[in-house]
């Protein structure tokens, strides 16, 4: 480099030469982009193509020959010709699932199993599967059968590509009804959650009410439990043996009511954080202007407060909508007969082994999730331009009556959250609800239940730690590459797109896509199927986006001058990265890792398709124990997850504080 500079005069255009440093950086970003392609893009592509894989009976592939009672054979005739002449099965009837059967005697209206007539069947092409009884046959040789055996012959479907699955989906009312159900639930829950969270956030930011710290602590509790837990709590509160059953006045908690109450519980903290941030940045000067214009409080609220927070409200609404519509645990536990999309995927895949239909429902679920995501991104872009450097932070004034209302509102919300968690702990300790209410630890004897026992709990902790460590490294290095390297523009924007995509992909869809992609013997990554590795990869990918955004925000705070300075001092970038970037961003890095840990402990949707007997997880155990009717042990395991996450949170706060005082001294003067 030095030689070049001596030879050339300084000019305005300099071409960035790829030095060794740049090569390392580019290969690093390539590795992480490759990770996202393998762990996200390819599985989704395979799933999409799976939804077009159809099964149908191809009658042209079979030929029959029938004898008379004396045993003289007639002319061979194909199944298709028989069907055409008799009009037995329409084209739609021939479409089926991979498990379909077509009874051969349906093509012979005069069939009688007592007659002496004999039948022959053969395939006309090498792939023409049929069953005699339950024995799979697939041969081009004639197979001769007497009448009584021939009635046990059924044709099997062959694979094809087309839109049949989608046609079946939309002609099955019980399936497409779920779209309406899912949207209904999501819209109602969103309206409720955003209103409640707005009230809570308003009280926290705009009043001088006491106990703010306590309320803030309680408000974030729902993040620490799997979404299955509020479902279980609602059964104990409002189920047929529930403590507060009469409150529902005869309505059943199993169904939309239960799903909506539970959804409000588990989405509340997410909405609260977003709305709180929006309310916190409001400008004192606007309120002073309103006051000097003698606007009433009510008018000020609608013309200043709400418009100021509108982007936060919209964003909170879309986040809540996505969380509810993609959630699987809650409707599974308390949905009763009210079908929603996420549960349909599970039912199709686990219940009926109809993987193709599962893929179709996944596509249906992907559409609203992506739509919500796109709108949210557009809104968020506008939010940034709203901030102004001259803003003066809002200072709430004393107003006892207002504070009392705030206290009541927050008190009610806190009571709701605490009673959901409290009832689970109580139910977990009761011997035999509702007939024997003495306390015991029987329900913690997980080894005697379905779901994998205590091992699943330790597996979950292992998954949480691995996800936190590996995920944080991948996410942070990826974000660093996007933010801090020069050139390579297309690669970087492709990477940015891939990094944002997981936010829009529901967990159920990701999990199913992983089955299709990784459980394929010809895939070189097939060996990770059924191991802890696939669970870690899936979880990291599932929660990639939030971590990525957190890391980007932190990196943006570091001056871009650091990189050129390091280069001019001939320091390799990794030295800068480890000596400056990582220490400066340590709070963000810790935030990302606790976020990944907590979510790995509570996630159900993606991993439900991927766990194996050796890698059972605590959250899955909650699901399976509830499924088997062991509701109290399910509550007990759910509470174990809660305590573990709470412990991790406390540890995180403690470590953060210590590290902050040691490494972030530069922040204070």
């Amino acid at each position: 480099m030095a030689e070049i500079q001596t030879q050339l005069p300084a000019g305005p255009t300099t071409h960035l030469k790829l030095d060794q440093d740049g090569a390392i950086k580019r290969s690093l970003i390539a590795v992480i982009a490759l990770y996202l392609i393998i762990a996200l893009a390819l599985p989704l592509y395979v799933m999409l193509s799976k939804s077009f894989t159809t099964y149908s009976f191809d009658l042209t592939r079979y030929e029959f020959q029938v004898s008379d009672e004396a045993g003289n054979w007639g002319d061979p005739v194909t199944a298709a010709a028989l069907n055409d002449s008799l009009n037995i099965a329409s084209k739609a009837d021939l479409g089926t699932s991979s498990d379909g059967r077509f009874t051969a005697v349906d093509l012979f209206p005069n069939f009688n199993f007592r007659s002496k007539v004999k039948y022959r069947i053969r395939g006309l092409v090498p792939d023409a599967p049929y069953l005699v009884g339950l024995d799979l046959q697939n041969s081009m040789e004639w197979n001769e059968l007497d009448s009584n055996t021939f009635r046990r012959v059924s044709l099997r479907p062959v694979r094809d590509i087309g839109f049949t699955n989608y046609r079946t989906y939309f002609s099955t009312p019980s399936l497409f009804q779920s779209i309406e159900n899912s949207i209904f639930i999501a819209v109602v829950s969103t309206i409720l959650t955003v209103s409640i969270a707005f009230g809570f956030a308003y009280a926290m930011n705009r009043s001088l009410m006491p106990f703010k710290g306590t309320f803030r602590l309680i408000a974030t509790m729902p993040i620490l439990v799997p979404s299955l837990l509020p479902g279980i709590a609602l059964i104990y509160l409002f189920g047929n043996q529930g403590l507060l059953k009469d409150v529902l006045m005869g309505e059943s908690i199993y169904g939309p009511i239960g799903i909506i109450i539970g959804s409000v519980f588990f989405t509340f903290p997410h909405a609260l954080i977003i709305i709180s941030t929006a309310l916190a940045i409001s400008d004192q000067r606007q309120y002073e202007a309103a006051e000097s214009l003698r606007a009433s409080r009510w008018r000020t609220f609608w013309t200043v407060t709400i418009p100021g927070a509108r982007y936060g409200l919209i964003s909170a609404a879309f986040v809540t909508f996505t969380l509810v519509i993609t959630d699987f645990g809650l409707p599974k536990v308390i949905g009763g007969q009210f079908n929603v999309l996420a549960v349909d995927i599970y039912k199709q895949v686990i219940g009926q082994q109809n993987f193709e239909m599962g893929a179709v429902v996944s596509v249906m679920l992907l559409i609203p999730a992506i739509a919500a995501f796109v709108v949210d991104r557009m809104v968020q872009k506008k939010q940034v331009s709203l901030l102004s450097a001259r803003s003066v932070p809002f200072q709430p004034k004393k107003n006892p009556r207002f504070e009392l209302i705030c206290l009541l509102w927050c008190g009610l919300v806190a009571l709701f959250i605490l009673s959901i968690i409290g009832i689970c702990q109580y139910a977990a300790l009761v011997k035999f609800w509702p007939y024997d209410l003495t306390l015991s630890l029987n329900n913690y004897d997980f080894d005697r239940m379905d779901g994998g026992g205590w091992d699943s709990y330790y597996n979950s902790i292992q998954l949480g730690l691995l996800t936190a460590v590996i995920g944080t490294s991948i996410i942070f290095i990826g974000a660093y590459m996007v933010e801090k390297i020069d050139g390579f523009k297309t690669g970087r924007s492709l990477f940015q797109f891939l990094a944002m995509l997981p936010m829009a992909v529901p967990g159920m869809v990701l999990g199913l896509a992983y089955i299709f992609f990784f459980n394929n013997p010809s895939n070189p990554f097939n060996f990770i199927y059924g191991t802890m590795a696939i669970l870690v990869i899936c979880t990291v990918t599932h929660f990639f986006t939030v971590g990525h955004l957190t890391a980007l925000t932190a990196l943006k705070q570091i001056d871009r001058e650091f990189e050129p300075v390091a280069t001019s001092l001939r320091q390799p970038f990794y030295k800068l990265f480890t000596r400056v970037t990582v220490p400066v961003c340590l709070p963000a890095i810790l935030d990302i890792s606790i976020y990944l840990f907590v979510n790995a402990m509570t996630t159900v949707s993606a991993v439900v398709f991927l766990y194996s007997t050796k890698t059972n997880l605590a959250s899955i155990a909650v699901l399976n124990m509830d499924d088997a009717g062991d509701i109290a042990p399910a509550a007990a395991m759910g509470m174990m997850i809660f305590y573990t996450n709470a412990g991790a949170r406390i540890l995180h706060t403690f470590i953060s504080r210590r590290i902050l005082t040691r490494t972030q001294a530069w922040r204070t003067r």
Partner: protein, 340 residues
């Protein structure tokens, strides 16, 4: 105490196995046997065959079946021990089972083995439908104890009956397929139409209705007898009703997966699973086992159960499964009325 002994036993077995480590074969066995029985069965087997180590892969019937089907072209299991016969029939129709006539086959009841020679699967014990009735809730709500399937359609039970969804639960499917066999197809569907009016919920798993009845969450749960007996033993106020028209059943059955590289060990295991000794182990929880004259009454099990078991046509059920489920889903899968 029992747990302690079993730990001791398995420790003992482990010592035995380590001494014969050279001759040891490991078998990957897929199963849906209840978690609490698994170790006991393995210990009993290892007492006779310490040289074969069993690596269990356990999950619910639906999941194990899905797993086996998914691995169709690349099987990971050597043996299936304790999976619903209807599931094994599906595997057989995919050509995934290795036919084998185990020693002692002739002692097995005729209904407990595949009719082909050599058979592709052999049964171990029967798993029979029953109705769990919560007597405390029944009294509170003024419900009489039902004695037949038809009773359950009476208006008095409206909203008090829970049954498993046949699409996701093996128990649910055996109920539906048995009603179609008992009442005939047309009347069977008519029966389910009437029953649907009384159903409060269709659950995903087959044991849940009985556990819900045990907890009083519902008054009546259509489930299976084994579950009812267990809950009753745990102190639930249950009466286990065997409907008089007859009851559907399935069996837990065993088979060798075609393509296993450890055929000899797999055959040894299958031989053992139908010995009288194995049957005695199954009898601890199940009242009906594969060999006549072995079973002793099981506590809290209804005693007339074997007489009430219908002559179940497994082949018919397996080959009509997808058509039955499609029809069922069309009629009942959504609480809200289908829009046309």
């Amino acid at each position: 105490m029992i747990r302690k002994t079993s730990i001791l036993l398995s420790a003992f077995a482990a010592v035995l196995m380590s001494t014969s480590a050279l001759a040891e074969t490991e078998l990957t066995v897929y199963t849906a046997i209840e978690a609490e029985d698994l170790q006991r069965y393995a210990d009993a087997f290892n007492a006779d065959h310490p040289d074969i180590k069993i690596n269990w892969v356990r999950d619910s019937t639906g999941v194990v079946t899905a797993k086996l089907l998914a691995e169709k072209n690349n099987p990971q299991a050597d043996v299936v021990w304790g999976l619903a016969a209807t599931s094994l029939l599906v595997l057989k129709s995919e050509g995934m089972l290795e036919p084998y006539a185990p020693k002692g086959l002739d002692k097995l009841k005729a209904s407990f083995k595949d009719k082909d020679v050599p058979p592709s699967w052999v049964g171990m014990d029967a798993w029979v439908a029953s109705v769990c009735f919560n007597t405390v809730e029944g009294e509170k709500l003024g419900l009489p104890v039902p004695t037949s399937w038809k009773d359950l359609t009476k208006p008095v039970y409206k909203g008090h009956v829970v049954m498993p969804n046949p699409a996701s639960s093996g128990t649910g499917f055996l109920d539906v397929s048995s009603w179609l066999q008992i009442f005939g197809e047309a009347d069977g569907w008519k029966y389910m139409d009437a029953l649907h009016e009384n159903i409060a919920a269709y659950t995903h798993s087959g044991s849940k209705p009985c556990k819900m009845a045990a907890a009083g969450e519902t008054a009546i749960g259509i489930s299976f007898a084994f579950r009812g007996a267990k809950s009753k033993a745990a102190g639930a106020p249950l009466e286990i009703v065997v409907p008089e028209e007859g009851i559907g059943w399935d069996m837990e059955a065993n088979a060798i997966i075609a393509g296993t590289s450890k055929l000899e060990a797999a055959q040894t295991l299958i031989d053992w699973t139908i010995t009288p000794k194995a049957m005695t182990e199954y009898n601890v929880g199940y009242a009906v086992v594969g060999i006549d004259g072995i079973a002793k009454p099981v506590e809290f099990f209804p005693d007339n159960i074997e007489a009430k078991m219908i002559d179940n046509d497994f082949e018919w059920a397996a080959n009509h499964r997808s058509a039955i489920l499609e029809e069922w889903a069309k009629r009942y899968d959504s609480k809200s009325e289908p829009k046309s």
